[in-house]
Symmetry: D2
Subunit: 438 residues, 4 copies
């Protein structure tokens, strides 16, 4: 309903009723061909069924209204089209054989789309990281100035995490690329295991064996968790944009901020805010997915309505988020001079650790050095002066460090000298990952 | 998208874009009338705007595509229709004034529908409870036979809990029946508090005062929690139906069970299963609703996309669940003779507590009596005999109890004699609640 | 285990095993006295049991290790102490009668503590709000400067929300102030309803009637939700402190920030951060509490282990959060001059709505006025000049507004003139609430 | 607090404060040795520090009460013990370097314990599966008799799923076997990347590179999700035990059921119920773990209190669950004759699909065959007769099938003939998995 607003092509089309019936038919035909190959079904049946089969959504719905069973409605409608050979359709199968196997086809394809979008975002993040590898800015912990970092290093962390998400998505795709044609309780009473193997091979799926009536739902929870983790990375990027674009910081700005009906001066980063909200929705699908796992005996149907809602919701949202996050990054306005200015305006306190360590090297106990530098910082803030100046004029410091040493401590290049090496050695990123997975 | 399957009228219509624009217009007109009443806006403006205002969804969307702000698009489209007087629309307001106040109108009406459906279910539950007040059956704890109860008493518990849910829904409706026309940060800089009071009074809402830019989101979490609790009651009913209709129990059956594509003998209680699944989805909306509460400063927009999804989802699902649960109860097939037979087949063990207490009354320590009755039960099960017979032939028992006393212990009427009184005194049910709330 | 760190007295003691056994004994004695009053139990029994009863935790545990049932172990140990009269203890009761009723006593008392702490926080918030009622600062929406507000108004919103939380906690306390002595499946087969009424009256509880074996778990979910909502208010306060104390903002600071092992200059608002984290844990208890509601038939025991963990966890955490949030607020350092400076440094853009509305009053269409003021703001930012100056020099503006009118638009007192009235009329705050509840 | 009840050795000890300080010291020593190896720190320093270092918990706590920083308190206490060389401890590090790296050591070890317990459960499940490979019982879907299966096949499904959980746990262990010694914002300003590599190699960890101040929290969410999935498998086993041991089914019984204080006849499967409850708690940790991921800038501390609670909780609970689930399975009482009896008592309806398919083979359309068999089943139930007899006497059937063919349809061996093959080919189980992972 309101999900429409976030549904992009081609993700959206995957979830249409028509696409579902097409997948059901694909599974029925693959099963039929397998049985025919084993001689269970008369030669030529599959070809005849394939030739005559036609999805008539209206007719299926009409029958469904009458008998209240969606897959039976599909079968009877199909049998009407196909005629006598149609009696072989669904031979030895139960509804879940068709539905779960078809759902695997859907999830595999949907994950393929998500992986494409994630790959495109990863590329944008890496490009952004490289572009800003040497763009210095204040690093902040606990919302407080910590030490210098670079904008590119932030983005490199996102890129590396997205690489882990891509690996999760790939594993989830592998986990769900299984089918199941084992009958009502998983015992293959009327559909032989060999036929399952043949049919699934044609569909590009592995057997989920052993199963009950259904493919075990732990595999679906993997999928939803991988999507939620991916959403969490997008949230991380978006949260950073929101922080860096707040009025007092203004180090970045969304490319297309939104105005206000009341305040003509507003330029709100609403895309980032929206992405943060959507991540909450993805998170919220994991618990129901896990609740769906422990079913009664060989299967109960309580998972079905849950999946009908959360699967399209999670896929449509994560697809949207990946696309929009890429747009966000690619159109982000960056203000490097303001970033640098913030370091310069910090009175040198972001180098306090360097001073502490120099005093330790010079023989002071760590505790004494820590306390002394804290005092110097307090003095710098009270007096509105630079920590470097304060240090240069401080007896304790000057007894132990030369002016050149003190100057060196407050040199931005020193603290950022390893950034290139971090970029060079960053493991786990999408590209490395993709290669190693092959 | 797949939510469509559960969307019933008139709940469905409440969530349409058209209905939303109508509510926005209602709020704008109420605000305008209030300003006019206070002399801020020229006399006659409201009448003129009301006469000319027309919602043109196509035009609104066109503008929105262009400027990327839904409420501004609505305003500009409206101003195009209204002409010069249209400049007064939205005077002193910010988008959230209109959107949040309009959302309150929606939620109030949606809760009204839910309350109607809950009331109808409560009636059906009470009727079912009365009909089966004296229908004895085995009570089970831990899935094990405990002591006799009646089918009606189960239903009376549901009815009473639904009464508590109705009270929760009513409180949630009260919590959300508030509006807010306090401007960009809640300070009424350009729209006076008196105008808010007048406008909200016309809309039947109270002021949410004090607020930031938005109505605080704790109120919305109340709504979602009340819906989730209501869903939990439906789950409780449906879970009982599933248990009582399993093959080995077969004490009830759904009125319209579903068959199987593979097994012509199946009659599956899929409605109950579906209701259990949907309760999981309702539960899963509470956490995002709570995550939405702590926004940045006077407001950030992260809650917006969350609400766009979970509000219609929760309302549409709970509406469906209440309607279907009522159908379930009204069409439920009940097999009283099988219920009674189960008590008779239990070899009297469901009366073991009566025997224990009789021995205590006769002077045995509780621990000794407990151990002794446990031994007699074990013997009854080993021998396939009735506990009463075993007791009648046991020396320890016979020293302390007469045969008449023993017979009395195993009398079903004794253990159920208070059921009528429970019905008579049940507090907290919908009817009592509704009365006391007035 | 790690929860110890957050456990404060007297909340902590409520959850000890000793306190639990004491409560069990209280319930057993109340039940016994009620039976004696009705003549079911010999006169004098209660007095004798009360005189001899002694909780021997070691002995109880010894028996429990042997028989694996905690309440039976309690009973047998008690019977050992009491002697012959001890056989009447637990007469007509089942374990859940005692445990659930005793749990209600615990939850009622624990909610009492939480309400005390919430009341103390409310007082601190109101005091803080009054103190800073006229402390102007920039209001921010979407992290962007919006319009002026005051620090006190922020706090007034917290105070009002906490008032709603207090009402929720009070309702939860009422919901859980019920007991149940209705036997194994809720039918009162051996313990008469009148005895329940007498015993519960002595304990200060109402009958939960009708029930199954247990008090319905929807009531417990109410408790956990009320705690989670309260935690969410604390999160809201703490989140604001984190934002306002970030280096670029520095409008407030925690009274006792934490340093860093590496960086002697750091003063981190870790209490606020911790409070935000703990709110996540409270949120996470609501879903399991709701999952606990739909039990099998007259009761299954799956809720028990859940409650054993989440109940103490939620109460201990919320108790800690309320105490610490009060400390946070009372020791918060506030920098009013920096707040005011921020408004002055904003180049007047926070008054843009006033200019827009003045142009509307002067006859411009809203759309035209909106676009025009947006252009003036852009010019002000580009030129690094004040919006007021720009406006004074702009032909479109000067044709419609006098210099005096323009000056008035940029007057902080104008936009904050209603703050006093908001304070005066704030409904729903703790004090009003507490009064109306009495 | 109440978690104590579930804490088993050696898992419990891992989470003690003493063990935490030992791990912090291990990390500090590894870092020191690495710096010494690179010549940053004077030769011999590490040996001297190692020789003198002593954890004095009392002293650490005393300092912590004073300065309010746990790691600084640890450092100052250590420096007191070590003397002058102690100033080199923590050189170039920030608190998170030590804490996060030490936490990885803990999580790796804790996962090792969980994997051991999971392996032991897997063995018990496989053994149980093999023992009951040919123990026929009714398979049930939707709580309704479906078709025959075997008890062993149920257990094989659990075993296979546990194999997937083991793989998840192993991947989570790999994901978290990373350390980080990159300084305050991840830029290695004072601790060179080579030193990190050396130190982590000594600890058996890989570099998490790139990082912010902390190891990214997506890795921890992986851990909690893997634990929740494992808990979900235990829930699945326990839920089946609860269903199969309910009074009307009685096909299995817990080895040590619990009695009732009121009803001497009760034998309740409370272990299984408890395991189901605990699974809810594990599920509830995933959402807070995901909320912890998107931190502010280079790090905020909101994740810390969350992890302090959910990490020990999740590990202690899953450890307990795996141990108890193994006990449950190994001591489970199984009643094969009752299982077989249930198939025999089913009037042959569990073979209805076989009859349907035989009619399809004989030329009937599937829809006609389905409807016809459904009628025969209804007749069998109405008349209390066997479906086979009804079929043998039915004209439509007899025109198409010989008596021998009909007899064959109702042969249990036919429907179970593939069970051996399923066992032989079951992929993904723990053994296969463990082998392929090596």
């Amino acid at each position: 309903m309101m999900l429409e607003r976030y549904a992009l092509s081609p993700m959206r089309e995957l979830w249409s009723p028509e696409a579902q019936y097409e997948r059901w038919l694909r599974v029925e035909l693959a099963a039929l061909a397998a049985l025919e190959g084993l001689g269970v079904v008369p030669a030529g049946t599959t070809a005849e069924v394939r030739a005559r089969a036609r999805i008539d959504v209206g007719r299926i719905r009409e029958i469904e209204r009458d008998i209240g069973h969606d897959l039976l409605a599909f079968l009877w409608a199909l049998e009407e089209e196909v005629g006598a050979a149609g009696r072989w359709i669904h031979y030895g199968l139960t509804s879940s054989d068709v539905k779960d196997t078809a759902l695997s086809l859907l999830l595999r394809d949907a994950l393929g789309i998500v992986l494409d979008k994630a790959g495109a975002l990863a590329e944008a993040l890496r490009e952004f990281a490289e572009r800003h590898r040497e763009t210095p800015m204040v690093g902040r912990t606990h919302g407080q100035y910590a030490e210098p970092t670079t904008l590119g290093l932030k983005a490199l962390c996102w890129w590396a995490e997205l690489g882990r998400d891509i690996a999760r998505l790939e594993r989830a795709r592998e986990a769900i690329s299984v089918g199941k044609l084992a009958g009502a309780v998983g015992t293959y009473p009327y559909f032989p295991p060999e036929a399952e193997e043949r049919a699934l091979a044609e569909l590009g799926l592995a057997p989920a064996r052993p199963t009950t009536q259904v493919i075990p739902r732990d595999r679906y929870a993997d999928v939803l968790f991988a999507l939620a983790q991916t959403g969490s990375l997008v949230e991380k990027v978006a949260l950073e944009v929101r922080h860096l674009s707040r009025s007092e910081v203004a180090e970045v700005a969304e490319g297309r901020p939104e105005g206000s009906s009341a305040m003509p001066h507003k330029r709100n980063p609403i895309l980032s805010e929206r992405l943060c909200g959507l991540a909450r929705l993805l998170r919220a699908t994991v618990s129901p997915a896990l609740e769906d796992n422990a079913l009664w005996h060989e299967r109960d149907m309580s998972h079905s309505s849950v999946e009908r809602i959360i699967l399209p919701q999670a896929f449509i949202l994560v697809d949207y988020m990946l696309v929009k996050c890429r747009e966000l990054i690619r159109s982000l306005r960056v203000y490097p001079e303001r970033m640098l200015g913030r370091i310069l305006d910090s009175r040198g306190i972001v180098f306090s650790e360097g001073l502490l360590l120099a005093l330790v090297r010079a023989g002071l106990s760590r505790r004494a050095a820590h306390a002394h530098v804290a005092r110097l910082v307090a003095e710098a803030e009270r007096a509105g002066r630079d920590l470097k100046e304060i240090a240069l004029g401080d007896a304790t410091v000057r007894e132990r460090l030369t002016p050149e040493e003190i100057e060196g401590i407050f040199d931005l290049r020193t603290t950022l000298r390893e950034v290139g090496r971090i970029f060079a050695s960053a493991p786990g990123g999408p590209q490395g990952r993709t290669r190693s997975e092959k």
